[in-house]
């Protein structure tokens, strides 16, 4: 066989090899989903969502875990979204190219690659020991906020970079200031892509376990953080409290980890059921992000 013919064969064979390699990961993902669903589906039912963790696997549920996850996510969002977007705007729109900017840029890129467990150790040193926040919702939320900050910054920058400079110039030509231009032209134009980045970052935070374990987030929490709003019969009828942010918490991935590390079979089914819930949330968020990105593929 001549080498030209051989090349042709190799060429067409590679098409299949390449496709197979690309799809391999997805096949594994499918196996994972099937495995988890078959292990955990019989734990379905509302009482799984409304029960606290328990010593008996059949009675254990994820009530404190999913409520805790919502608390932590809100706390994380409050800090990470404004700070991340603000930092992204500065780096992309204001910062001049110099050593300082370079330094900040390397810092952000490096933080994006720091293992999540290190953020837990950071939280242990700063939020727990220095600021005495204990193992509270606030401490957990702050750690996750720092963790996803680089992701939000990088995607904000990318979103703003894709807004053409002609839009900025047109706004300047009409006499707008820099901030007016950013606030009324650039940000709205990049909004869809920024939102995509924020959703992806939050979906990452929902699944994080290691940094919260490091600050000693307890695994057996048979109660919820204090309600922020309580109603009572006396004037002024409504009582607003921030106490919940200082209460201990657990989240879905920690509850799952706790169940996985137990020897009893029943808890493994609980873990699988918990994973179904967690996986549904993360996959839904990712689907939303993919859809948004697809919808926002604007050609200027």
């Amino acid at each position: 066989m001549s080498s030209r013919k051989l090349d042709k064969k190799v060429d067409s064979a590679f098409k299949f090899v390449g496709l197979a390699a690309t799809l391999f990961g997805l096949v594994v993902l499918a196996a994972l989903v099937v495995d988890v669903v078959s292990d955990g589906y019989h734990r379905r039912g509302w009482d799984f969502f409304t029960s606290f963790p328990s010593r008996k696997p059949e009675q254990a549920g994820i009530f404190s875990a999913w409520v805790g996850t919502i608390w932590i996510m809100i706390t994380t969002a409050i800090f990470a979204i404004p700070l991340g977007i603000g930092s992204g705007i500065y780096m992309e729109e204001y910062a001049k190219r110099n050593r300082w900017t370079d330094f900040i840029e390397i810092n952000i890129a490096n933080l994006a690659g720091v293992p999540s467990v290190i953020y837990g150790i950071l939280g242990l040193g700063v939020f727990i020991r220095l600021m005495h926040l204990d193992r509270s919702v606030l401490a957990g939320g702050l750690i996750l906020a720092l963790l996803i900050l680089p992701v939000i910054i990088l995607s904000t920058r990318e979103a703003l970079r894709s807004v053409p400079s002609s839009i900025r110039e047109a706004s300047y030509a009409l006499g707008a200031t820099k901030w007016q231009t950013i606030r009324h032209q650039v940000l709205p134009a990049g909004f869809g892509n920024i939102l995509t980045g924020v959703i992806l970052a939050m979906s990452r935070a929902i699944g994080e376990t290691a940094p919260l374990i490091t600050i000693g987030a307890l695994t057996y929490i048979p109660f919820l953080p204090t309600n922020p709003v309580a109603f009572n019969k006396e004037i002024p009828y409504i009582h607003v409290s921030l106490q919940g942010f200082f209460d201990p918490f657990t989240v879905l991935p920690i509850q799952i980890f706790n169940w996985v590390s137990r020897p009893q079979k029943g808890f493994l089914a609980d873990a699988a059921a918990g994973i179904i819930v967690l996986l549904t949330i993360t996959l839904a968020m990712n689907a939303a992000a993919i859809y948004l990105r697809y919808k926002n593929q604007k050609r200027w």
Binding site: D11, A31, V36, N110, L122, L149, G207
Partner: protein, 296 residues
């Protein structure tokens, strides 16, 4: 007057946004400060030579040894297995997506692959422990319930999108002219892909691989769940081991009192982990930037 107010407001906003950016610098500084200050206390009691050369890690035993080598070994074994999975699969898939797939296929497959990286690691840990290990046991009778092999394999799957997407970006950035030149000389697609595009994108690809190594070293939950908690100075992937990250989790879960020498080991482990990943991240960042300077 009005102009002055506007100018002041503009300046205020710029300062405020600058503060947001500086937070990243403070975060890095805080990480280094926390790790250093605790590690210094540790090294007052344990000599740095013992730490780097002792082949036993037994901080919780009465006969205490503080040699990082067993933990480092565990980390290297799982990382090596993960890379052995992720790099070949990721690179072949990147070549396919960049050179062979149609724009439409790429548009569908790329986001699907990203989902692999979005699955929470605790889920992968469950999968490694309760699906992959029992499956492998049918082929490898001597396999322990906790082992580096299945943790590493699953970690590799998780890292595929990182390798493939960053390498694909690098290959995509190679100028069309290089490909057209090769075609004009009568090359086939496979030759163009592997003899022209791949070498041209090599620094970008290397950056992707290095980042993947760093990610594997820092991965925590998969190894904490599936690889075991026995620090061992071995390269055998079939027995329980312990990685640096898994050790940090183990101590955090236990009731070791704060402020003791035993407790400060997690900061020393964190320091080791940080130094390793930091070095890799910086090399990867520099490589990627050099690649961008050449082609963009």
């Amino acid at each position: 007057m009005n102009k002055q107010i506007i100018r002041f407001k503009e300046m205020l906003i710029e300062r405020l946004l600058l503060c947001c950016s500086l937070l990243s610098v403070f975060t890095t500084a805080a990480i280094i400060y926390v790790l250093l200050s605790e590690s210094i206390g540790f090294f007052k009691h344990v000599s740095i030579i013992d730490f780097l050369t002792d082949t036993q890690w037994t901080p919780m035993f009465t006969n205490k040894h503080f040699g990082i080598l067993p933990l480092l070994c565990g980390t290297l074994v799982t990382t090596f297995i993960a890379i052995a999975v992720a790099v070949p699969l990721g690179l072949v898939s990147a070549v396919y997506l960049s050179e062979y797939a149609t724009a439409k296929t790429r548009q569908i497959i790329k986001p699907l692959l990203e989902i692999l990286a979005a699955v929470p690691t605790v889920v992968y840990g469950y999968f490694a422990l309760l699906f992959v290990t029992p499956l492998l046991k049918q082929f490898i009778p001597g396999l322990s319930g906790f082992n580096a092999l299945s943790a590493g394999l699953v970690m590799g799957i998780m890292i595929i999108p990182l390798v493939s997407s960053l390498s694909e970006d690098a290959m995509h950035a190679v100028p069309m002219g290089l490909r057209e030149g090769a075609y004009a000389l009568g090359s086939r697609k496979i030759q163009v892909a592997f003899k022209i595009v791949f070498p041209a994108a090599l620094s970008g690809i290397t950056a992707a691989v290095i980042l993947a190594v760093s990610r594997a070293i820092g991965e925590t939950m998969i190894v904490a769940i599936a690889a075991g908690q026995q620090p061992r100075f071995t390269m055998n992937p079939l027995v329980p081991i312990e990685t640096i990250t898994a050790y940090i989790v183990q101590i955090s879960l236990g009731d070791t009192p704060h402020g003791t020498l035993e407790y400060s080991t997690i900061f020393v482990c964190g320091m080791t982990l940080f130094v390793l990943t930091f070095a890799l991240n910086v090399v990867s960042f520099k490589l990627k930037r050099r690649f961008q300077e050449i082609y963009e």
